[in-house]
């Protein structure tokens, strides 16, 4: 007899690997017209299908770019390395960007770790609450904005990329047929922020200098300190301030 712990450990291993032990096979009775190995395969196959489907949901951009065959082959490899450890399936795949860095696909398509990261950040923003923007009158009434500290929404992700990463990620919104017709040019850097305001998740394209300044503001620096040593054009500062004050990402100012 196996006992509770051994039966669970052996059944768990069988589901995770697809290779049941002799001890487990001796101790089970299969259902239906299944033999013992096939009955255990039902659980293994269901596990692979469920987790792969979850990854397709969590990594829509990566899934759309790679297509069914490559993406689901990648899922199988990832599943072998990283079993789920959380009750929340929304968290599954959280190491995929790191996994891609050493993967052959990551070498063939060097932007893939960033693409995975963007999928993950989109999901992070999706699950964060909407935060109410600051009253515009408080902003107008502030005496010295250059020394003010801005509090920005938590749902803000900044990205500087050598690749047109948002454009690649956005392919998920095309049909399979439309995607096949796209001749993608991977050259061309993109710098942007993904943010969530009361209307939902949005994107704003920025210059690299604007991303740097916004990153510093996000970290708590006042505008003067954020601009220190920056070569940002004054017109771009004005543009960035316009974005901060009207997009809904500014929730407090002190």
């Amino acid at each position: 007899m196996l006992g509770i712990k051994s039966s669970q450990v052996l059944l768990g291993k069988s589901i995770l690997t697809g290779n049941p032990s002799e001890d487990l096979l001796k101790n089970i009775i299969p259902g239906g017209k299944l033999d013992k190995k096939r009955a255990l395969e039902v659980y293994h196959d269901d596990y692979v299908a469920r987790l792969s489907s979850v990854m397709a949901d969590n990594f829509e951009g990566t899934h759309a770019f790679l297509g069914e065959e490559l993406f689901f082959a990648l899922c199988l490899e990832y599943l072998d390395h990283y079993p789920s450890t959380s009750p929340d399936l929304g968290e599954y795949g959280k190491y995929l960007d790191k996994f891609m860095k050493n993967h052959d696909l990551g070498k063939e398509y060097p932007f893939l770790p960033e693409l995975c990261r963007l999928d993950m950040e989109f999901m992070r923003l999706f699950h964060l609450p909407k935060e109410k923007k600051i009253d515009p009158d408080r902003l107008k009434a502030h005496e010295n904005l250059s020394l003010a500290k801005f509090t920005l929404v938590k749902a803000l992700y900044l990205q500087k990329s050598k690749y047109p990463i948002y454009k690649i990620w956005d392919l998920k919104n095309l049909s399979d047929a439309e995607r096949e017709d796209v001749e993608l040019d991977w050259s061309g850097a993109e710098n942007f922020c993904l943010y969530k305001n009361m209307d939902g998740i949005k994107v704003q394209f920025l210059t690299p200098e604007q991303v740097d300044v916004l990153e510093k503001i996000k970290l708590g620096l006042n505008l003067d300190s954020a601009l220190e040593n920056s070569e940002i054009d004054p017109l771009r500062v004005q543009e960035l301030f316009g974005f901060i004050s009207t997009s809904g990402i500014l929730i407090d100012i002190i």
Binding site: M1, L2, G3, I4, K5, S7, Q8, V9, L11, G12, K13, I15, L16, K26, N27, I28, I29, P30, G31, G32, K33, L34, K36, R38, A39, L40, V42, Y43, D46, Y47, R50, L51, P83, S84, T85, S86, P87, D88, L89, G90, E91, L125, F126, H127, L128, P129, K130, K196
Partner: protein, 272 residues
Amino acid sequence: MCNIGVGLRAEHYSYLEARPQTELKWFEVISENHLNSRGRPWEILHTMREKFPLSFHGVSLNIGSYAPLDFEYLKKLKYMIEVFDPFRVSDHLCFTGVPGANIHNLLPLPYNDKTLIHLTEKLDQVQSFLDRPFILENLSAYIDFQESTYTEWEFIKKLVERSGCKILLDVNNIYVNAVNHKFDPKIYIDHIPKDKIEEIHLAGYSDMGDFLFDTHSNPVFPPVWDLFSYVIKDLKDVPVLIEWDDDIPEFARLEAEALKAKKIWESHHARN
């Protein structure tokens, strides 16, 4: 009166946010889909709770595991209970993973005295922590263990007696197991203490040729409706839920399936 509900699924959020008219009385929420979110999955619970009672149904309590309970998970569940005040909180009579790996499947346990003692202790901890009677659902299983010394229905009856837990009776799962493990489903139902049944689940399986698979991807099949009629003859006012989790149809189709349950319930109780 038949108290019918359906599962709240992301595919229907937009439709339900428009607050359509419906004969449904309540919605079931998969706890894990909302525990860690404060975005739309959390907001929709507030929207739905304004108009409907909610039940929380978990899939990762892992109560049958040899490992200790995950109290971080239970704390989050308790917070959700405090915020949304569900009228039922349930999970499954199973284990769902081993330390280091959540398998996200409902895995069977050997039905014997050791498991009975183990589960009773775990249920005691859960019921004390949540400060409410807990409800466990019977599951579909594609294997049984040589070391089972009780039938599933004998085990459930003993567990209810020992632990004070209640039963979420999944009629589809009883039928799937009856076919796969070759027993008479009416014997199963006859042994279940009716006063402990807190909720009924109905769903559609998939016939794989060599076994029935509990996929929740189809309408309820006639033999399951027949068993439903058999179960409800001794029941009053037990909430009934249609589960549909794969190949999810438009809301109207799901609602129509729930209304079938209502019709069967009403015709049966009108007769008696």
